[in-house]
Symmetry: D2
Subunit: 180 residues, 4 copies
């Protein structure tokens, strides 16, 4: 079901309006850890995005992430952001329930909470999403890599995640029974 | 842990700024179904708020509900709204995990989705919160009533809930194993 | 991963040993509500098994259900029972997490709890399992029917479920956000 | 609600009958991580049991754990085992929902799965249980210690847990958002 409706205030916002809004209310995000499952439903690999900073050249890791737009359902936002980050040939299987694996709270100032987003106060619904097909990121992200749970749990790898999102990877793997 | 930080853009917004913001992004809410538990942890009663409309005089039912303010953590928002609706002598026991019972999506136009909020596109994290102590609503709400699960599941009662929230009551009771 | 190990006491038990065991400990089951999802992950249909009683000729409804055998993992038991009830051409996608939608407790005496199993005290881990492919039951069950959520929620349909399992169908649909 | 019923085969089993049963079916357990919460519902301390081996004198750590008896409800089993391990002056608040934090599978042979129980194939429903009052173990366990999340996550501490249960502690803390 699509719940997008004719909208006099479209989801798209000017940079100015978005900046202003970010100072007024927490911004709602959806985030997804893409996974490859074996036939028993156990996670084999996690999809991790490698993003290069245009200014510092530094490489950081992240997961699929994006805003829920005005008038957009959570499921539509998930699908749109999965397609943005994994490309049109990826086939994500959205979870049958909207109950997230965890709720992630990002604050703009470091030290307040484990997750940080310098742009804004954001709250993300975090999902684990099984994906089949070919994944070819078509935006910012330079590369998608598939890591085994134990590769992803390497402390050096976890530290490379933007904004402290290594924590979300650990929470997702705990939820999947794949910490050990 | 409080994660409130010095904030140049306080959570409080002028009516104008809030209206403008409501046209730009989905607004994040927390909602809570207050419950009384027996010693085995099984729900005995649900707290339901009766609110009188100042214009029509009509009585409607609702659950604890309120915005997450800019810079405010989800837990702070839950506690603040529970105190607003249940009064200072209520002792809510916030759930140890922030994973909600359900994620509720409200759209401004009826017929698009089961939940409706004419003011805005809102997304609510819905929790079940055990409460002890005395509950005395101190705002809008006229009265707090405690219903057994079977009283709350009466179709006439469910229909009285604002915005279709009777659905959330059913989802909460299903989660608690108290549908039958 | 299969965790079946060489087992001096195989999962298979003689009728006598099983009866004796049923009088000693609660028996662990897995149960599954098969679902067809749309591309957004929302449930379109539930798979319901129609079983004819060999003695009374009465038709009853049920969901996929079976014991976890000695030495068998929960995932292996789920796959085995899904194949038993849906046939070898069904492709169930086991959930990535073993956290069940609900824990169902069956007691042998009616009136004690909403779920009843005259044979035994049983505890079932209940999952929602997306299924693709063709489903052709190959055992007891006469027929598999696919019902929409609103068809499944018809009180007459719910009453036809064996042992009170209509309650589990309601709980599963509540979890999926498909009660309305 | 207690669902204990007059039972010709009482929950108590002779050692012989229990050994025989352990070779026939997986044995159902409940396990609980006792926690102290702050007023915001965030975990401050975890209760960990220190048990001394009567044969080797070695100290091991564990969590609250025990069988579900024949005819006993999951909630009754949780309360009984919490009282056994925390004493009669502890006031556990059972969770309002029976959905566990994780399902733990123990196999008798090491190397098959992360959790091991040399006595049997066991499946445990694992809960986080807020506890107030005084906790004084009255059985096997020598001592109850309260650890902060970061103390509990020390790899040396996690390694001391019986049967690999350090994994369950990590999963519980991930669920509580207290891994960092």
């Amino acid at each position: 079901m699509s719940v997008r409706t004719p909208d006099p205030n479209p989801g798209w916002l000017s940079e100015f309006a978005l900046d202003e809004t970010r100072g007024r209310v927490p911004i709602l995000y959806v985030e997804a850890v893409p996974v490859r499952l074996d036939p028993h439903g156990q996670v084999e690999h996690l999809g991790v995005l490698l993003r290069g900073s245009s200014t510092t050249g530094e490489l950081t890791r992240t997961i699929v992430s994006g805003r829920v737009l005005h008038g957009e359902s959570v499921r539509d936002a998930l699908l749109r952001n999965l397609e943005k980050d994994l490309g049109p040939s990826a086939f994500p299987q959205l979870p049958p329930s909207l109950v997230p694996v965890t709720v992630a709270e990002y604050f703009p100032f470091p030290g307040v909470a484990p997750l940080v987003d310098p742009r804004q106060h954001a709250v993300a619904l975090v999902y684990v999403v099984p994906v089949s097909g070919e994944c070819v990121p078509r935006q910012d992200a330079l590369e998608l890599t598939w890591l085994t749970p134990s590769e992803a749990l390497d402390p050096e790898v976890l530290d490379d995640f933007e904004g402290g999102r290594g924590l979300l990877v650990k929470q997702a793997l705990a939820h999947l029974g794949a910490l050990a």
